[in-house]
């Protein structure tokens, strides 16, 4: 244990340097900066926005519009000026929006004549704030239109609920999953399932790719600097060296991935804030049994663990076949492909509808199971869970065995030995 701890400490010291941290710090700073800027823009957009409204004559409808604008946090200036004059005044006084109502609005509405309100957006640049403001104005008019429709329908058909005419066909959506039925839309259920079963494997994918690269770089550097030769002659079990390297790579990868995910989270929530929440009612998930039980979380953890260890064992093998750090990075390409393929397959295709050769290919790749097993757990697909875990365990054990045997033999030094350099 002491030996492995010492090796892990060395790996972390070697791999966590300013040079390796710098790109991550740069990404972190960019995400934090952009996230902060977006939040600032949103705060500006939420502040009362000045709008000038041209109302040529006294109108009940104009009063309604102005009230709705005020409710949407617009600061309204009412004027009776002519359109051209109002345009100049609005620009001069820093308004961002000018609404021009036609004459006799109430008269037109009463006679079911269309009312065209001219909306002039005064552009001072293209920004995120401008998009939010335009959206708010549109929502005001949608609301007013809806209210007017309701008003007209009540006048024409006072005994019929307006809702029955506006939406004559209404849907009651239900989802069936195995033997359970719950009220809810399939999109919402899909969203919930994806959030539970896709995010964790996605984080794993990041850790896995980074850990493999870190490990390969470390082994490549050891070969390049001939520190590996020294390490292989010290009185320790060579398998300890492999384990120490793998654990060191995992520690570093987890640190980097956490930093990255935090920064990404800060950035993406800056977009999500203020957008109407689409979080579905969790009771649908509970009714359908779509929540992960402790047993399911345990199975998922085992899957993720097996995937990480398998990737690291394969990365070790590939790195040992190369001559130096650069070669080790290049040697990882097949592994990267194996990790990314299942991600794209499961993201864009339904496994059930894939052609047989593609399905077989997907099942042969051990890194498919972190994406397949969570869904299989939710759908109660036990043959896939048991078969997948069994396959992963066998693949993982074989990869570790081969890596350990390779590391314990003299192949570790001779595989890429150049005869012309031998003495």
């Amino acid at each position: 244990m002491r030996i492995i701890a010492n090796l892990v400490w060395k790996e972390v010291r070697e791999l966590l340097t300013i040079r390796t941290l710098l790109p991550f710090i740069a990404v972190l700073v960019i995400f934090l900066f952009v996230g902060r800027a977006l939040r600032g823009e949103r705060a500006k957009a939420q502040a009362p926005q000045p709008v000038m409204v041209v109302v040529p004559d006294s109108s009940h409808f104009a009063d309604t519009i102005i009230n709705r604008l005020k409710e949407e946090n617009f600061s309204v200036t009412r004027t009776t000026a002519a359109k051209e004059q109002a345009q100049k005044q609005a620009q001069k006084e820093g308004f961002s929006l000018l609404l021009v109502l036609p004459e006799s609005v109430d008269y037109r509405i009463d006679r079911f004549q269309p009312v065209v309100i001219e909306a002039y957006t005064i552009l001072k640049g293209f920004s995120f704030t401008q998009t939010i403001r335009s959206g708010k104005v549109k929502s005001v008019f949608t609301r007013i239109n809806s209210e007017l429709t309701e008003y007209h329908l009540k006048r024409l058909l006072p005994d019929i609920p307006a809702e029955n005419i506006e939406n004559p066909v209404q849907t009651g959506e239900f989802v069936i999953l195995r033997d359970r039925v719950a009220a809810g839309s399939p999109e919402a259920v899909q969203g919930m399932a994806m959030a539970q079963t896709f995010i964790i494997p996605l984080i794993l994918l990041m850790v896995l790719l980074y850990a493999s690269q870190t490990l390969a770089a470390s082994i490549g550097q050891e070969k390049e600097n001939k520190t590996l030769e020294t390490l292989l002659t010290v009185p320790i079990n060579r398998v300890s060296i492999v384990i120490g390297k793998m654990l060191g790579a995992v520690v570093v990868a987890v640190v980097f991935s956490l930093v990255f995910m935090l920064a990404l989270g800060y950035y993406t929530t800056a977009f999500a804030e203020g957008v109407p929440s689409r979080t579905p009612d969790m009771s649908v998930a509970v009714q359908l049994g779509l929540t992960l039980s402790p047993e399911a979380i345990f199975l998922l953890s085992v899957t993720l663990f097996l995937a990480i260890v398998t990737a690291l064992a394969l990365a070790t093998l590939l790195a040992l076949l190369s001559e130096d750090a650069r070669g080790a990075q290049a040697a990882l390409t097949p592994l990267m492909m194996l990790c990314l393929l299942p991600y794209f397959f499961t993201m864009f295709f339904n496994i059930q509808t894939l052609s047989l050769p593609l399905k077989i290919l997907l099942f042969l790749i051990p890194f498919s199971y972190p994406f397949l097993i969570p869904q299989a757990i939710l759908f109660g697909n036990y043959p896939l869970i048991i078969g997948g875990l069994l396959y992963m365990t066998i693949f993982c054990a074989a990869a570790i065995f081969i890596a350990a045997r390779f590391f314990s033999s003299d192949l570790v030094l001779t595989t890429r030995l150049r005869f012309r350099r031998r003495r």
Binding site: T230, T233, D410, R422, R423
Partner: protein, 240 residues
Amino acid sequence: MEPAVVVDDLVRDYGVLRAVDRIGFEIKPGEVFGLIGPNGSGKTTTLRVIATLLKPSGGGVKVFGRDVVKEAAAVRRMVSYLPEEAGAYRNLSGLDYLRFMATFYSADTVERDKLVEQAMAIADLGRRIQDKVDTYSKGMTRKLLLARALMSSPKLAILDEPTSGLDVENSIVIRQKIKEFAARGTTILLSSHNMLEVEFLSERVALLRQGRLIALGTPEELKSRWSARNLEEVFLKAGQ
């Protein structure tokens, strides 16, 4: 007395290429033994087999009676190997590197501290031992690595081209350190293509050419046998 090293009819092949071809010699305990030969003569391969890094294709090697293949772990506890042109971990300080390596030789903290102190004395880098290895000159790195190789007071130190690429001043310092350690009883097996250096350091030498042993003896014996002024001349005459 049991020999420190017995190389018996050693063969090492790389595919179809024979790097070491049935060589044999013995090294006495406490002896400084030199392997001489040009590039590609099989020196490094021989040292790697003795250091348990490579397995023989034929023949055998024993270190203090232990077989390098069957009892590799036991051999590793007795030997220390300094590869040619080896580096240290660049992001560690010299001191951290020595501490890291000392952990493999002792579980006891006090004993480990003693090993590190001994290594610091051998490396003789002063306050620079606290600096990152990345900032060291080639000579400083070589001193650090020699210190690492000798700090555990191994029964057999295998030094591959210990002064390769170093300037005269650093080479002299390294040679001096090797001599000091040999005087303390450590058996030393070194290789070099610098025959004058081997002549200066070694009590006995083996001359290799194209994987074969072409001469073996003390420098004086060899010079007398080949009527040569130095080992370079011996090598030229023996190879004809």
